[in-house]
C-alpha cells in the first residue's frame, strides 16, 4: 500500500521486530528508527527534467514475516558454475554463496548483509550510510535506511588483489507484493584490487517499488572495476543510487547497463574526495515502450588532481523517455582536477523523448573541464552504407545501435556479463514496435 506522509511512525514496532528477528546490532536499529523519523520532512531528490513525484516509490516493504521463497527456478538467470565467486539473492533471501577458501583465508568477505551485521558489525557500521550516501540526503535515502530488507556486503582487505570477479545476482521477487529494498556495501581497503559485477532481474509480475542503494568505499590506492546490468521488470518502479567514495589515489571504473523495463530514476555518483582519485563512469541505456528512465550521473572533484570522466550513450524507442543529466562539479581546492563528460542519445522513434543535459559547476580556477551532449537520430548515411552491402534495415539499425552502445560493453570484465548485456540490448531492440 502507498504510504502517506506522517504515517511512518506506525512502522516503529514492525521495524523493531524485524531488526530483532534479524539479530541486528542495537546501532542498526537506532539508525533505522532515526531515519524513519526523518522521511516525512525530507524532499525527494531532484532529477533535472524528470517529474516523478507521483511515482509509487515510497512504499514500505512487508516486515511482518519472512518473504515466501521464490517459486520460479533461478536457472533462468543463474548459470550454475561452482567456480564462480558468487552471491545469489532471490527477494530477501540469499540462496547461493560461493567464496573460495583461498579468498576466505585472505580475509575477503562476500556475504549477506545481515550475516555481516552479525559477524563483522564494526566494518559495516563504519561505512553503511555514513561515507558515500548519507541517511538524511533526501526522502529516498532516509526511507531506504529505515526499511532496508536485504543486501550484500563485500570486503576486500588491505593489499589483497583478487583476479576472479565477484558476481552478485539479485532476483527481485515480484511473485508477491513487496517492495525491493536492497543495499550493497562494497568496502575496498587500502591498495586492494578487484572487480565486481552485479545484475538485477525481476521474477513475477506484481507491481512493486524498488529502492536500491549501492555504496562503494574505495580506500587509498584501491582499484575497483564495477559493472552492472540492470534489468528490472516492467512492473517495477525503481529508485537507484550507486555512489563511489574515493579516497587518495583510489580508482573506480564503472560500466553500467541501465536496461530496466519499468520506470527508473537513478543517481550514479562519484565523490572524488582524495587527491589523485579517479573515476571513469560509462553507462548505456535503452528505454522502450512507454517507460521513463531518468539518470543523474555526477562526479564531484574535491581532491587535487582528481579525475572524473562520464561517458553515457542511450537509445530510445517507441514512446519512451530517457534523460541523461551529466553533472561535473569541481569544488574550491580541487586544484588540477579534471571533469569531462559526454552524453549522447539516439532516438529511433518520432514519439521518443530524449534529453542530454550537461551541467558543469566549477569553483576552482586551475582545472580542466569539458562536455559534449547530443540527442539525434540514426545517421541516414550510415544506414545507407550498411544497406548498400545487402544488410536489411532492421539489421543495419541493430549494428549501428550496438556500435553506439559498444563503449560500455567492452568495459565489462566478465565475458558472460558482456554477452548478457549484448543479449539484453538485442532483446530490448527486438520488441520495439508496439
Amino acid at each position: 500500500m502507498e504510504v502517506k506522509t506522517n504515517q511512518f511512525g506506525v512502522y516503529t514496532q514492525a521495524l523493531q521486530n524485524f531488526s530483532s528477528r534479524k539479530q541486528e546490532p542495537e546501532w542498526m536499529l537506532q539508525l533505522r528508527l532515526d531515519a524513519l523519523e526523518k522521511i516525512e520532512a525530507l524532499e525527494l531528490p531532484v532529477i533535472e527534467r524528470v517529474k516523478y513525484n507521483r511515482w509509487p516509490l515510497v512504499v514500505a516493504p512487508q516486515l511482518k514475516a519472512e518473504q515466501p521463497a521464490l517459486a520460479a527456478p533461478i536457472a533462468k538467470w543463474v548459470k550454475d558454475d561452482p567456480e564462480a565467486v558468487r552471491v545469489v539473492q532471490t527477494g530477501n533471501q540469499t540462496v547461493v554463496e560461493q567464496l573460495p577458501e583461498h579468498l576466505k583465508e585472505k580475509g575477503v568477505i562476500f556475504t549477506d548483509i545481515f550475516t555481516a551485521l552479525q559477524t563483522v558489525p564494526e566494518l559495516v557500521q563504519e561505512a553503511y550510510m555514513q561515507q558515500a550516501v548519507k541517511v538524511d540526503e533526501n526522502k529516498m535515502t532516509a526511507f531506504h535506511t529505515a526499511f532496508m530488507t536485504s543486501g550484500l556486503f563485500l570486503y576486500v582487505p588491505k593489499n589483497v588483489v583478487v583476479s576472479e570477479p565477484f558476481e552478485a545476482i539479485f532476483i527481485q521477487n515480484s511473485e508477491v507484493t513487496d517492495s525491493f529494498m536492497k543495499h550493497v556495501l562494497v568496502l575496498a581497503e587500502t591498495h586492494s584490487q578487484f572487480s565486481y559485477v552485479e545484475k538485477y532481474v525481476t521474477a513475477g509480475n506484481e507491481k512493486n517499488a524498488a529502492n536500491i542503494i549501492v555504496e562503494v568505499i574505495a580506500k587509498p590506492g584501491s582499484k575497483v572495476k564495477f559493472s552492472a546490468v540492470d534489468q528490472l521488470g516492467v512492473q517495477t518502479t525503481t529508485y537507484f543510487n550507486r555512489r563511489g567514495h574515493l579516497e587518495k589515489d583510489a580508482t573506480i571504473d564503472w560500466a553500467i547497463g541501465v536496461m530496466n523495463e519499468g520506470n527508473v530514476i537513478a543517481d550514479f555518483d562519484s565523490d572524488l574526495v582524495g587527491d589523485g582519485s579517479h573515476s571513469e563512469f560509462k553507462a548505456v541505456s535503452i528505454s522502450t515502450g512507454s517507460q521513463i528512465q531518468g539518470i543523474d550521473t555526477r562526479v564531484t572533484n574535491y581532491g587535487r588532481h582528481s579525475v572524473g570522466h562520464i561517458l553515457q550513450h542511450g537509445v530510445i524507442l517507441d514512446r519512451a523517455t530517457l534523460t541523461f543529466n551529466g553533472i561535473g562539479h569541481i569544488l574550491k581546492g580541487g586544484v588540477g582536477a579534471d571533469a569531462q563528460q559526454e552524453s549522447r542519445i539516439l532516438m529511433l522513434s518520432d514519439k521518443a523523448r530524449g534529453d542530454a543535459n550537461p551541467i558543469l559547476l566549477i569553483d576552482e580556477n586551475d582545472v580542466t573541464a569539458g562536455h559534449a551532449a547530443s540527442v539525434g537520430r540514426v545517421d541516414p548515411e550510415q544506414m545507407y552504407y550498411l544497406m548498400s552491402r545487402g544488410i536489411s534495415k532492421e539489421e543495419a539499425e541493430r549494428l549501428v545501435i550496438r556500435g553506439f552502445l559498444g563503449a560500455v560493453i567492452s568495459a565489462i570484465p566478465i565475458k558472460a556479463s558482456r554477452q548478457e548485456l549484448i543479449d539484453t540490448i538485442e532483446r530490448k531492440l527486438s520488441h520495439d514496435s508496439e
Binding site: 548498400s388 556500435g403 559498444g406
Partner: protein, 256 residues
Amino acid sequence: MSVLEVKDLHVSIEGKEILKGVDLTMKTNEIHAIMGPNGTGKSTLAAAIMGHPSFEVTQGEVLLDGVNVLELAVDERARAGLFLAVQYPSEIAGVTNAEFMRAAINARREDDDKISVLKFIKKLDEKMSILDMPEEMAERYLNEGFSGGEKKRNEILQLLMIEPTFAILDEIDSGLDIDALQVVSKGVNAMRGEGFGALIITHYQRLLNYITPDVVHIMMDGRVVKTGGAELAKRLEEEGYKGLSEELGLQITIEE
C-alpha cells in the same frame, strides 16, 4: 550472363537536374569505365543506381536482368547483385570490420546456411592478403580512423568478400599513390571473369593502366556523349576533355 541496363536515366538533387538521360548497357565479364570532367554526374549515376536517399530519379529505369532495381530498396538492390565502392565510406564506431562483413555475407544467405566462422575467417584472410592488409584491420571499427587509402582498400576488400554481380567503383583511385593503386587494381582484376562486371568511374586515365577496360564511356553534362574501346581513354589523356567536347560540338564549360 547478367546484364545491367541504364535507360534514359534522369536524376535530380534538391530540384536540380544532374543526369539528363543516361543510357548505358553492360554485361558480366566486361569492365566498363566512365570518364568525364568534374561535376558531370558520374558519381550521381553511381549513387542513383545504388539508391542513395538524397537523389531523386525523375525518369528512366535501371534494369538488372530485366528487373527495374529502382523499385527496390537499397539492401534489396545489393542482394540482387549490385555493389558500390565509394571514396568516402561512412564510419561506424563499435562495429568491427569483420562483424560487418559477416553480416553482409549472411544477409545473402538463408537462415540455415549462414557462413561458418571458420570459413569466413579463412576467406577474409585470403582476401586481405591479396590487398596487403594487416590482420588487425579486421578487428578495427568499420572505417573509423582509417586513412583515405585504408578506406579504399577496405571497400575493395568488401567487394572481394561479397562477390557481387556488378560493382561500381566511384573514383576509388583518387588520392591513391602508385603502390595503393596497384593493390586496389589487383583486387579488382582478381574479380574479373564470367560472373562479374564492373563499372569504373574515374577522372583520370591512370587507373586504366592497371585495369584495362573493355568499354569506355565519356560523360559530359549529365549524359554519355561518347562510347568506345580502351583507346578512347588514351586519346582523352592526350587531348583532354576540351578537345573531345569541341569535336562533338558540345557547348560545355569544363572545370578541370
